[in-house]
């Protein structure tokens, strides 16, 4: 008897070491899983930031520009057609040739002119229109460099050596000369924050997409918040327990898990093909995103209505309030912080959504800044998608920078939601 007891203890003793090892292993697996997840977060952010931070800078070249009326072909500044047709790019060409007089040959000259962005002419035109007495005079200006030059100049200090893929040795020589004279510099990239899309990376900005996102979100918020809150109030406060209510609930829960691209198909078939809403406009984008975010808003609004204690309702009914007065005067104000938090999270979701907007034509190439709900527009995530597809190397950093802007907005919205919840939400 004693012997067998001892042997049992011995068996357990012997197995304990193994069991403790298993315990330690299991714990380590758990820690590894979390580390992996956190590592992914860190990797994602460092990758995006290291790729994109340079896009906030732009290389520019200093030149002496002479507004030569002969080159421009302008005799009268008030003649709009003349100004529109004038060869402002020719001024840049003239000035560059004056800077590097020993460049001959067609190809070399073309290479030389393409040091400066092909959009520089428009800047010169705007300057001349704003300031007519410049005609015939000379001024010294910083003009943005072409994207290839920009990429090369930014990569000059890299440890692997500069990226020379699209910059010939001759151009490298010119840049060296400019650098020695202090005529090339890196400055803040204002174009990125003030312009719309462009095929030329140095002319491309996110302002157009940001405005498109703003208009789309205004539509989404102004439709989905009232409808979502009304639906939540009905389901929590008024709905009888019957089949119809069950059907509504099942529908809401299912819609919350339907792939977003399906909402795009709905928008295409119903809003565009059936109701003939124009394509590519914030209005239809907002409608589609409304339907998509509605379940999120309904679910979070219901949770915050549920959190209002029944004693409040009973007290209100006790002093003679009608059901509608109970809801409007007591339940809704108390549930509002929670609902607002849900709405902000829903808007953050809508701001980052891409797939359904591809279906309804918001992927068009749009240069103009949209000015209203029915003007063609694109939104930030779609702009990111479009730039990620562009072959030019300089678009990689633009894409990463646009992602940084988008993430900054999302982080801001989520922080706002957290702060709102902490400060306004009451614990009962």
């Amino acid at each position: 008897m004693t012997e067998s007891k001892q042997s049992h203890t011995a068996i357990i003793q012997r197995s304990l070491a193994r069991r403790y090892r298993a315990e330690k292993r299991f714990r380590a697996y758990g820690l590894m899983a979390i580390t992996f997840g956190l590592l992914c977060v860190a990797l994602l952010f460092t990758d995006i930031i290291s790729k994109g931070y340079k896009a906030f800078l732009q290389t520019s070249i200093q030149l002496n520009i002479t507004y030569d009326a002969d080159v421009l072909g302008i005799s009268d500044l008030n003649n709009k057609q003349q100004v529109a047709l004038a060869d402002f790019q020719g001024l840049v060409k003239k000035s560059l040739q004056a800077r590097f007089p020993d460049v001959t040959g067609r190809k070399e000259k073309r290479d030389l002119v393409s040091l400066v962005s092909s959009g520089a002419g428009y800047d010169l035109r705007d300057r001349l229109i704003a300031n007519p007495q410049l005609l015939g005079n000379t001024e010294t200006l910083w003009l943005s460099a072409d994207d290839d030059i920009d990429t090369y100049y930014k990569s000059m200090g890299d440890e692997n050596g500069a990226f020379t893929g699209r910059t010939s040795e001759m151009r490298q020589g010119w840049i060296e000369t400019l650098k020695q004279d202090g005529d090339i510099k890196l400055g803040l990239n204002r174009v990125f924050f003030t312009h719309g899309d462009s095929r030329e990376p140095e002319q491309a900005g996110i302002w157009g997409a940001a405005m498109g996102s703003l208009f789309t979100l205004i539509i989404t918020l102004s439709l989905s918040f009232p409808i979502g809150v009304a639906a939540a109030v009905y389901l929590e406060e008024f709905a009888p327990r019957n089949r119809w209510t069950d059907l509504i609930e099942v529908n809401i829960n299912n819609l919350a898990a339907v792939p977003s691209i399906i909402f795009g198909l709905l928008g295409l078939a119903i809003f565009i093909n059936f109701f003939h809403v124009p394509r590519s406009v914030p209005l239809v984008g907002g409608l589609v995103l409304t339907l998509m975010t509605l379940p999120t808003i309904i679910i979070s609004s219901r949770a915050s209505i549920k959190a209002v204690p029944p004693s409040i309702r009973e007290a209100a009914i006790g002093v003679g309030a009608s059901p509608m007065q109970v809801v409007l005067h007591h339940v809704l104000p108390l549930a509002m912080p929670g609902m607002l938090t849900g709405a902000i999270i829903g808007m953050a979701q809508a701001l980052g959504e891409t797939a359904p907007l591809l279906m309804i034509g918001m992927v068009a190439f749009i240069v103009d800044i949209p000015g209203g709900f029915t003007e063609p527009a694109t939104v930030l995530p779609v702009q990111i998608f479009l730039w990620a597809d562009s072959p030019e190397r300089a678009f990689v950093e633009k894409t990463s920078a646009a992602i940084m802007v988008l993430l900054a907005f999302l982080i801001m919205m989520n922080t706002l939601a957290v702060v709102l919840r902490k400060r306004l939400e009451r614990r009962w």
């Binding site: 898990a257 093909n273 980052g352 998608f385």
Partner: protein
């Protein structure tokens, strides 16, 4: 009048209705001895009048806005001579477009077909009359409602009940938007899919093994057979989803278990939100990461090991998708694990089991139904995920289970078929809706089962 102006006038009218009815109820109550002799508060009399003023008019206006264009084009086409009647849907749209352009002046009027010119004139006339008519009807309806609301005010009128009934119906209507959305999705994909299945038999679509949706525009064109066998797409979708699940399920589950059972409250408070950052990142960002960082890395790593990895490999898309789904799995699993009663843990620990043995042999089996539900939801998420695969997976529909090769998915094909120029009659665009139908049905079934399982499980321990 413009619709926006009309709405503003209507709103002003209903505000006036509110003030007038409110004033009248107060005036009627004064000789009786104050508003406590009224059935309802003056507010409800005012609201009743403004609802009568605004609601019917707005409903009418909405109906008009929805159906004005179809009605006008029908009237227009009826007026055309037989020689100009369109023969097909494409002709119909073309004809309407050219009349439209003539009417708006976008198309020059010189040398245009006189029949179309007169039609264009008729179109402008019809539009103007329609607009005038609708303005008149809406405004008179509003005025009538205002008058009715004002006249009916009396101390006996049960205004509160009426206003609250309208209020409740409005709330119900908002709740029904969810049903309408589901119905809209179902009808729109079903309708277009049926048109697709008229051209391509269902069996060819479901069981065909070749996918090349390029239709020949001219009969003599080569290489555009237009075959719509969706099996390669299903295989590709499943392959990528499986890779994603292989990443997401173990990592998500283990981190949820660790956070729920081992971690100190402080560590939990830091690590949980940090992991949830992954859930808040837009999918387009993951797509960019997959296409520009992960895919080139995998290709170089593969080259180093002597493997040929496609630059649009299923592996890259699947891995990144898995990372995206980690927080989804872990937060669902976390809920489920926390719902397991503490008494079960205590019992197991009391018998001398170690923590990991308790987790493996007590908590995990108890939480299994909920975890399965969560994983099913995650699978439905992976199947429907679009941007990552659009940016990182390929277009070539290959039947392969080799994760190093390029595959394509259902969502990628929907996007490629529908983005850009499209004509609505070709099987090519309609195929996208058929794929959408499949996607919707599959995710619907998965969600339905998953939500049921999770709900049942919750009830078990409540």
């Amino acid at each position: 009048m413009q619709t926006a102006n009309l709405l503003v006038v209507l709103l002003a009218l209903s505000a006036a209705a509110y003030l007038m009815a409110h004033g009248r109820s107060v005036a009627l109550a004064r000789p009786l001895g104050g508003i406590r002799h009224l059935h309802s508060l003056p507010f409800f009399y005012g609201m009743r009048a403004s609802i009568w003023c605004a609601l019917p008019a707005i409903v009418l206006l909405a109906l008009w806005l929805m159906f004005d264009e179809p009605v006008i084009s029908m009237v227009l086409l009826d007026g055309l001579p037989a020689s100009h009647q369109p023969s097909s849907a494409a002709d119909y749209n073309l004809l309407l477009n050219s009349i439209e352009n003539l009417a708006s002046g976008a198309l020059s009027k010189d040398g245009a077909d006189p029949v179309l010119l007169s039609a264009a004139e008729k179109l402008s006339n019809l539009r103007n009359t329609g607009q005038l008519l609708v303005t008149a009807v809406v405004l008179s309806l509003g005025t009538l409602g205002l008058g009715w609301g004002w006249v009916k005010v009396s101390p006996q009128l049960r205004a509160r009940q009426q206003v609250e009934r309208v209020f409740k119906s409005l709330l119900l209507a908002c709740a029904c938007v969810a049903i309408l959305t589901t119905l809209g999705i179902l009808l729109s994909v079903l309708f277009e899919s049926l048109r697709f299945f008229q051209a391509i038999p269902v069996t060819d679509f479901l069981f065909g093994t070749e996918w090349s949706p390029q239709m020949a525009i001219r009969p003599d064109q080569i290489g555009s057979s237009g075959s719509f066998g969706a099996i390669p797409l299903f295989v590709g979708t499943l392959l990528i989803s499986m890779i994603a699940m292989i990443v997401a399920v173990p990592v998500g589950l283990m981190s949820a278990l660790y956070l729920a059972e081992y971690a100190s409250p402080r560590f939990r408070g830091l690590a949980k939100p940090a992991l949830e950052i992954l859930a808040g990142i837009p999918t387009v960002v993951y797509g960019f990461f997959a296409a520009l960082t992960v895919a080139p890395f995998l290709r170089e790593a593969g080259e180093g090991m002597g493997l040929t990895v496609s630059s649009e490999s299923a592996l890259a898309a699947g891995l990144v998708m898995g990372v995206m789904i980690i927080p989804f799995v872990s937060s669902l699993a976390d809920d489920v694990i926390n719902a397991v009663p503490q008494s079960m843990r205590d019992g197991s620990l009391g018998l001398g089991a170690t923590k990991s043995e308790t987790i493996k042999q007590v908590i995990f089996p108890a939480a299994l139904p909920g975890i399965v539900g969560g994983v099913l939801l995650a699978v439905s998420r992976a199947i429907g995920e679009t941007m990552i695969v659009v940016m990182a997976a390929g277009l070539a529909a290959q039947m392969t289970v080799n994760p190093l090769e390029t595959v394509t998915t259902v969502t990628v094909q929907i996007v490629t078929l529908l983005v850009g120029d499209q004509e609505f009659d070709s099987p090519k665009t309609l195929a996208a809706f058929a794929l959408g139908l499949m996607l919707f049905l599959v995710t619907l079934v998965l969600n339905f089962i998953a939500l049921r399982v999770v709900k049942k499980y919750r009830e078990q321990y409540d």
